[in-house]
Point group: C2
Chain length 318, copies 2
Amino acid sequence: MTEFTPFRRLALIGIGLIGSSIARIAAREGLAETIVCAARREETRTKALQLGIVSEAHLDPAEAVKGADCVILCTPLGAYAEVMQRVAPHLQAGAILSDVGSVKACVVRDVGPLVPEDVHFIPGHPVAGTEHSGPEAGFAELFKGRWCILTPIPGGEQAPLDRLIRFWTKAGSKVEVMEARHHDLVLAITSHLPHLIAYNIVGTADDLATVTKGEVIHYSAGGFRDFTRIAASDPTMWRDIFLNNREAVLEMLGRFSEDLALLQRAIRWGDGETLFNLFTRTRAIRRAIIDEGQDIAAPDFGRQATPKNGKANEPGKK
Amino acid sequence: MTEFTPFRRLALIGIGLIGSSIARIAAREGLAETIVCAARREETRTKALQLGIVSEAHLDPAEAVKGADCVILCTPLGAYAEVMQRVAPHLQAGAILSDVGSVKACVVRDVGPLVPEDVHFIPGHPVAGTEHSGPEAGFAELFKGRWCILTPIPGGEQAPLDRLIRFWTKAGSKVEVMEARHHDLVLAITSHLPHLIAYNIVGTADDLATVTKGEVIHYSAGGFRDFTRIAASDPTMWRDIFLNNREAVLEMLGRFSEDLALLQRAIRWGDGETLFNLFTRTRAIRRAIIDEGQDIAAPDFGRQATPKNGKANEPGKK
């Protein structure tokens, strides 16, 4: 791959977990000469400047994009339309316009028509994150070893796409190019449905009258607490994801519910074989994810101080 | 609380993750003079002896319980009946008989009648574990800060119960005494349903034809990978849990599915308010779990090298 030429001015519209992580890695790796942002809340702008991760923080996104050769939308999906209305007339000819939204077909459909002809529009999605939000939650290593999916518009130029691929590669990502609709289907199962289910079970537990909230909290180490992490993700961002990836999420949810009905029946009728067979099959996927470096092998996500082997806790070796 | 008098001989029937963790902490804290085990597989017995966590490892559980003043069943629930048939005639008068199974009403119902009159039967459940299995997966700190629930039989003596409470307290646990049926309801929502859902979504993803297995693995960092940890838990143990806590699991599953139908409808009809309200409410439970020390506050379970605040990754501070 040829050398990456840094952007002159990188404008991040929105400076939360993802935007601020891009700002950090771009600064560290010299991916842009100047990094600026726009944010709606004054508190966020002040924080971004205090952290020293941007040199300008604007209320008006139009001010941020002026003279920028790369603009990345890092707001929740629901804010895109308003942002585009403000920035479209001010985008520089030849600039790359991208985003980090978790749904892509809606971005192609809704944002695409608003992009000036001389701007290269390349939607993107770094598959990375934590349950924390805001500029202080970001960190430079967020994208390291994680995949970034780009969904270029058919007929778009190759050179700007190559440049954006190099940008994300420099940021530590592995990059994949795919069609927007396929992206939405893949993410519906690997990200959106898991979040929906996690939010749902936490809600179900919260509503119970027969089991107290204290009991749910005490005994959450039995498995429940894992779901609460995901269910602590940003509510606005996730509302927008579900509203904008409706078809794919409903499709995956339908399959999930069908499969769950089968398990329900197996439990009701005492069919241990069906349960055992599924429970055995699912172990292989965990292994493959660890082998690919997408999760750590340490038991319990390494939360507990578990030894590498049994020896470490032998009696007398305290 | 009065001083704990160590058991003379502690017999662990089954020496997997939980049994071997009990052996380790009992040795470290001097909770028993002699610690022995029984295990069906020769490989397991050899491993337990090699690890130095037990001084005897028997094929026949009857040999292990002879002379033991405390016996703890640490096998999957499905093996209890056979074990009890073997050990009942050999249990020492005055001994405490307990277990670590994740369902309790079935233990009271099935094991209770097989226990000799002069033996103190006190079912128990330490709510702790990892997705790994076997004697080498155990560690002494497993129970530290976690809850252990005891579900004594009504009319049982107080002194043996107090002794077992002290045993688990010495092992690092917080102890709660509750009725077996209530335990099963609480664990159905905090542990059994989360596992069922995790197994199910991993199965659903595995079955897809439109999304490849490679794609599921690549993009698992979007949330899916969290579920694969739980879905890598021991298949035999979990089959037995679902077969033995049928009613409570079906009850919780019914509520979960009802709630999920509501979310499905909200997505279908674009009702962002319902989604946003739930997604906001669920954050509070996460906070409460962290406040109680049942999970760590670090983002992403601390899997990533995230800084405590934004400063650590500021440009130029590499």
